[in-house]
Symmetry: C2
């Protein structure tokens, strides 16, 4: 824990970078960095400028060679430094442009995507080579076939677990919540990036039915975050929060785009999957970056001599003049509807597996201990079943996912008249052919086995997605229908003389789009499928099937990503479903909480104390007075706690004591006055006091100065339980002592008076508990001074008659957490996400992390100026807490979260 | 004007239907309609149910035939009526579902699109037939060639002008403003629909370079609005405003989708062109309706035996295996950049023509008088130049737009080695071939001529779009580059043995997408192009070219639609451009207006009066007091005017007089009291009073009861110019008299006391001007009673440090008109669209119609309950105004608009 200090700091920096909370701090950091660069990097920058300005270099080189090195070199160096400055300025001015960032992002992601694909291909080849080389002994072959993926998956799971557990899974659900404005810790760090890339490569290299789309969305976002962090060293524009959110949205598009070389589909898919409201002005960003990325991705393939020119990833060669007959449309519609049910079933199955494992506590406990056992077992099961000489022969087990897809999209008909005799045994196609078994049986087995295998495999804690497996299953299902149609109508359906045989490959395309659309609840899989196959001739069947599949799936189950969001209990706002008409009739007054916790402008500290003790909302309304109830703004809970602890804190009491002492000194001559207080038993007793009662607040005081991190609420409670004085274990006391000393020094360094008090031994804390209680009572009756308090002067307001539909729209548009309901300035209620969620879907309550609206910072902007002062203290406090009171901190922190 | 009463009412109804302002009235109307249907349509509904329930019909028919007609028919009728009721209920419950609406909309639009296409084809064929039949005499040929389009265009212009001038032009700019929440009168009426459809058919049938895309967006929106109005007879869901906005958004997608049979491109294009922020939950609506529409549209073609099966509209047959070489990409990039410049030039040229005609007052005046002359002249010019035996032979003049596009997308190479000798003279291709002139010259001439022709033709006041002409020009430009490349590299660029000749058709596709993308500032033209051609193989070149074209065009000119919005002075909020970094640094405090007009809770009527006289904002802030400045809400100007006129109005004065009279009667015996007032000169003097001074307010009083229609401000001014008493012409007085009588009766029918006063002749207005002035002064000193005033309790608030970027986002997200800037509840400034616009683009001020935010109704919702009472009066007032004071009303109305 103690070693995490630097890491913590880095993470925090990361976090601030992404969400612009501490932009001030960032500014300071950037300046420092710039200064450091200026100092240390002078020589380096000269060198760089030489590289950049070939012309100057030539001139300088000439000068140097001219025999008068000293005479000429000085002006040359001057010239160079001028050039450097100019060049730097130019670079800095350019580096802030969006398109530079997007090009870099696209380039980076294309390289990553290509490299990952390359490694995966090598891994898969290695497996094939091992399997092929051991064909003398079936047992050895089996061992090789099974061990290889088990090792890879186990490594992937272990590596991810150790380096960054956040890298597990798809990443799309997390990106969805992040783009909604929620701060997910450590989701966008370099560690996570490394873990995700390596983990994904190993996981996919194992040949398990896993996909790379979801992880690539995450990887692209990581890239964008890291790039943004890197670029912020040059320009200031990278510190802006809204810009970063826009860039993350573009990054999601790049992720999908470079994964499938599908720029348009990538942009649309990422929008559908991650956004609720989409700003059309960000559209071009996604298109630009995704196109560039897809272009580079494909160009790499051409340069690598894999391809002759840039074409689609899974190119099809269906005939263009008569792609399908109008009378085939019912079959396509059937594919769509069946895919809808299938998609819902997949999501349900996936959730069922996760919940089953979670509920079975014995299994859960065992698996928690042996974390790598579950991946290994699942991999063992799946790879055993796909072992080609075994059961795998009936389900084309030896094909990789890519090979399977290529064969499924083939434009030849596998089965004529129901018999697979005239099968063209070319390439991988023969894998589908079994001497004894019909092609239809192979296909059915493939679909059924892959279906549950994929649902199971995606629960393994490795970086993996489910899109590609589902896509392949959909293609297989489409192929099955297509082959059946081809068998049913061997000469095609068309009746006007010319024979147009049915193209089962077209059915496969339709099935792939429909099933993946049903699982992800998106329409843009249609576009992805066109871009993947390079043919758009089946547009109408695909669109019809995708829409039908979506209609069915959306009415049965949430999307896979929403399902994962619910499983992971990430904060979310459910969508208003299809045709929920009542949403127009429910009004805010029906769902709002009328008993609003508020504080008045002229309240005393006791009221503040009571309000903080009874409620647990993150922000409190500030009204003018209890009678008028005019809403003036809202104050964060932490701010109030800071106020309260300042009032009751040690510093104030010390001052009080000092004043008393002064008074005592003045009337020293007076014999009736009490004797000077005895010297205290040093820090230990002082510490005991501060851990017992309200004085404990002093340790939380530093943290409360930073408004964004709410302090634990527990410490307030001791103020009520005054009589029960329990001694802490000494080691905690010592630790506390140590750190509170540092913390105090830091806190008061701006206040020399207070420090003087601190050093002044004889005015030390000499009050008895009774005296302190009295003093506190007295303090609590004073009126609150809000002048130093950060008040959000414009919290979002609704009126009673706002409909649920509009409330939902506004909450999702602005990413609100709560809104006050007012009537002519009078506060009459409050609606939070919780009420809204309840109103939409019943009484499901979801615990989650703190929701931060993407646009919320416009409300903070008024308060951000003083944040940089608080940050240093904040960091210290962080370290302090993690070292001294980890247990209590964690507990109260989780309490805070569960509100 | 007088005859417009019913029409006005219908329009008003229309308007309320679309924007949900008077949902209450609509509900009443729906109920009345339902009652009417129940009463009158009993027999009809039985008949309908018979049609619906074939089974029952059969049974009944049997019964009837069975010889016991009376015995059996009674229960049968009962059964039928039960069925009818059940059926009706089912239908009503279903009819509210979105998908029913969307299917109907799609179906309708497909039929409209197909019918329009069919008629256009017939028109064009007729022209060709005439031209072909007269080939004996060139002069007759020329006459026929020229007269035909002139007649059609003139008819189209005249018809549109007479029936609905709103139908002129594209419609996309208007839909953009409507979707932003602005109420544009009469834009979505049945009249406009008829005018647009017929006008468009004639305009396109003339063969002028005009498009149908923009108008189809408008037609689809009209369809949606009318369908919504029709469906609201069955279900209540169609009354909701936000739903209607969502449906309009879907309709825009349908419009593009069924025009090009491009569902995906249609959805994306409509989003890019009409929305600023797009709700992803509306995505499926667009896809669903557009797909269905495109499907039906293409199925109609199959049923009509035009096509064998469903394929793309402009099918291409490029080779699939090697669509383009990597080394051709620079050429594609060149197309993109050149198209960017071309697109910007087109927009500029179009605006220049409009502005030139507007500025030249002589031309303008002349054209205003002879409205049909301009279209006729332009058509004459264009058709003369395209006359095939004349100049048209050098620019493929005899091809229609569609034919030109088909030939341009052809996959054969026209020019080998620069000479067009081995040209395949098939079909329309020979039009490009001229015996003396090179293909390149033809193409260049085509591009140059069509370019200015299209820019000119789109300024004709007929329903027309510019997308298709631009698309064709782009294709021609692409073809030109492609042919040049083919001539330059006759054997293709590829060096690895196999010869892949260059496909100029691919360049045409790229050029079409790039130029149309540049003109409209959209990326989705890429998708449209794929759907139109049915091939996606050129995806990367198209995407690269479109993005480059957009980058260039967006930095030079606004999009064509934004340009039209500016020309038409529609209210808008400019987009934040590419990489405007300063937008992050400008804060609200820099742009806000600090001198906010406000009223206090305890102000007197005089303050109200002064505020209304000095400012001209549509809403005024209500603060607690001038010292505290705590913002309580905002009040619409009209509300305040209503308050003021109530206070100073005739009704109150009458009461005052009556009270005086009572007092007078009481002290009748007292001889010192003044003699009873002489009988007034009846209504005439009363009328003069009411037209002169503040008492004039009485005539505006009814209108001010309806909060949504701000009353003219002019009438307030006479209160200042009290001494200048000018007599109105008698006819206006009489008219005023008549109507104010009606209006007053209606106004006071709820108040029998007041009516009694009205009838009571001897308490008539007998005060002198001096007395009235005194009385008014007295009244103005009273404190305002806000209890009956509709206050918006939650106006949107910002803080000083909100950045321009965020302000823009919030304004466009919520469609705000203005926002108050507060600091801890204290009002310190106001930002309106105007300031924001200025801050973004300098000091351009645009006058426009009233901006109504799409989500604004959540603020009105608290005030909607009393609207239905106001509406009747409102209507009367409307009629009254249109009959009596057309001049003044118009003037003040336009004043109001120009705020």
């Amino acid at each position: 824990m103690a070693g995490d200090g630097v890491d913590q700091r880095a993470l925090q920096y990361e976090q601030t970078l992404m969400y612009g909370r501490y932009t001030q701090e960032l500014g300071v950091y950037a300046k420092e960095e710039a200064a450091r660069l200026r100092e240390g990097g002078q020589r380096r920058s000269v060198g760089r400028s030489l590289d950049l300005l070939e012309y100057d270099k030539g001139r300088c080189a000439k000068c140097r060679r001219s025999g008068y090195p000293w005479v000429l070199e000085a002006p040359a160096r001057d010239f160079i430094s001028v050039c450097t400055v100019r060049c730097q300025k130019f670079l800095i001015s350019r580096v802030g442009e969006d398109w530079i960032f997007l090009i870099l992002l696209g380039l980076l992601m294309a390289l990553v995507s290509w490299a990952v694909d390359f490694c995966i291909a090598i891994c898969l080849q290695a497996q094939k080579w091992m399997y092929g080389g051991l064909d003398s002994n079936v047992f050895l072959q089996y061992l090789a076939w099974v061990t290889y993926p088990v090792v890879l998956i186990t490594f992937s799971a272990g590596f991810t677990q150790i380096l960054a557990p956040q890298a597990v899974g798809s990443g799309i659900p997390e990106m969805k919540t992040i783009l909604r404005g929620v701060v997910l810790k450590e989701y966008l760090t370099f560690k996570t990036f490394v873990a995700k890339v390596i983990g994904l490569t190993c996981a996919l290299g194992s040949g398990m039915p896993l996909g790379k789309e979801g992880p690539f969305v995450h990887i692209a976002s990581l890239c964008a975050a890291l790039l943004s962090r890197f670029m912020s060293l040059f320009g200031g524009i990278y510190e802006n929060e809204s810009r970063n959110i826009e860039m993350l949205a573009a990054a999601c598009a790049v992720g999908v785009g470079c994964c499938f070389a599908a720029p348009i589909g990538g942009v649309l898919f990422s929008i559908e999957v991650t956004s609720t409201f989409f700003a059309v002005r960000n559209y071009w960003r996604g298109f630009f970056a995704a196109t560039f990325s897809a272009f580079i991705f494909r160009v790499l393939a051409v340069w690598n001599r894999d391809e002759e020119t840039i074409t689609a990833l899974f190119k099809t060669r269906f005939r263009l003049d008569f792609p399908f007959d109008l009378q085939e449309l019912p079959a396509f519609a059937v594919i769509g509807i069946a895919s809808g049910f299938g998609g819902a079933l997949f999501v349900y199955l996936n959730r069922l597996i996760v919940q089953f494992i979670r509920k079975q506590k014995a299994i859960n406990k065992f698996l928690m201990k042996k974390r790598l056992l579950y991946p290994a077992l699942v991999t063992l099961l799946v790879s055993t079943l796909t072992f080609p000489p075994g059961f795998g022969q009936f389900m084309a087990g030896k094909l990789t996912q890519k090979e399977a897809l290529v064969t499924l999209l083939d434009n030849r008909t596998w089965a004529k008249q129901g018999i697979a005799e005239d099968f063209d045994y070319l390439g991988h196609l023969q894998a589908w052919q079994h001497p004894q078994v019909n092609v239809f049986v192979t296909l059915v087995l493939f679909i059924v086995m892959k279906f549950w295998m994929s649902a199971l495999a995606t629960t393994i804690p490795v970086p993996c997605g489910a899109f590609m497996p589902v896509f392949v299953i959909g293609a297989a299902f489409g192929r099955l229908v297509g082959e059946s149609m081809a068998a049913w109508f061997p000469d095609g359906i068309h009746t006007d003389g010319v024979i147009y045989p049915i193209v089962p490959g077209g059915y496969a395309v339709v099935g792939a789009a429909a099933l993946s659309g049903a699982v992800t609840h998106t329409v843009s899989t249609a576009v992805i499928v066109f871009e993947l196959t390079g043919q758009i001739s089946h547009i109408l069947p695909v669109m019809i099937a995708v829409i039908l599949a979506n209609a069915v799936a959306q009415s049965l189950q949430p999307s896979l990503y929403d399902s994962i969001i619910r499983i992971k209990k990430l904060p979310y706002l459910p969508e208003l479903g299809w045709g929920h008409h009542e949403k127009y009739n429910i009004r805010v007054e029906d769902i709002m909480v009328r008993d609003v916790r508020y504080i008045t402008l002229n309240c005393c500290y006791r009221d503040l104390h009571n309000v903080l003790l009874t409620g647990n909302l993150k922000t409190l309304a500030l009204v003018e007075s209890a009678e008028s109830m005019i809403l003036l703004g809202s104050i964060e809970r932490a701010q109030l706690q800071a106020l309260l602890s300042q009032q009751l804190g040690r510093a104030r009491r010390m001052e009080y004591i000092r004043e008393n002492a002064m008074a005592f000194k003045k009337c020293m001559s007076d014999p009736e006055s009490p004797p000077p207080p005895p010297p205290v038993e040093d820090t230990n007793s002082q510490q005991r006091h501060s851990t017992q009662e309200v004085r404990f607040q002093i340790t939380t005081e530093e943290s409360t100065l930073s408004p964004t991190r709410p302090i634990p609420q527990k410490p307030l409670k001791p103020a009520l339980k005054r009589p029960s004085v329990v001694d802490r274990p000494p080691e905690i006391l010592t630790a506390n002592n140590d750190n509170s000393g540092i913390a105090l020094k830091n806190l008061f360094c701006a206040n020399p008076d207070a420090e003087a008090v601190e050093d002044d031994g004889d005015t030390e804390d000499d009050m008895t508990i009774r005296e302190i209680a009295e003093w506190e009572e007295q303090q609590l009756d004073e009126q609150v001074n809000f002048s130093n308090c950060k008040i959000d002067p414009a919290p979002f307001q609704l009126v009673e008659r706002t409909s649920l539909h509009k409330t939902h729209t506004i909450f999702s548009l602005l990413g609100l957490d709560h809104a006050y309901v007012t009537s002519i300035g009078r506060l009459i209620g409050v609606v939070s996400l919780k009420e809204l969620r309840k109103a939409i879907e019943g009484s499901v309550t979801v615990k989650g992390t703190k929701v931060r609206p993407p646009l919320a910072s416009f409300r903070d902007s008024g308060t951000s100026s003083s944040e940089n002062e608080a940050t240093e203290l904040h960091k210290l406090w962080d370290r302090h807490k993690s070292m001294s009171l980890p247990r209590e901190h964690t507990q109260s922190d989780s309490d805070e979260k569960s509100q």
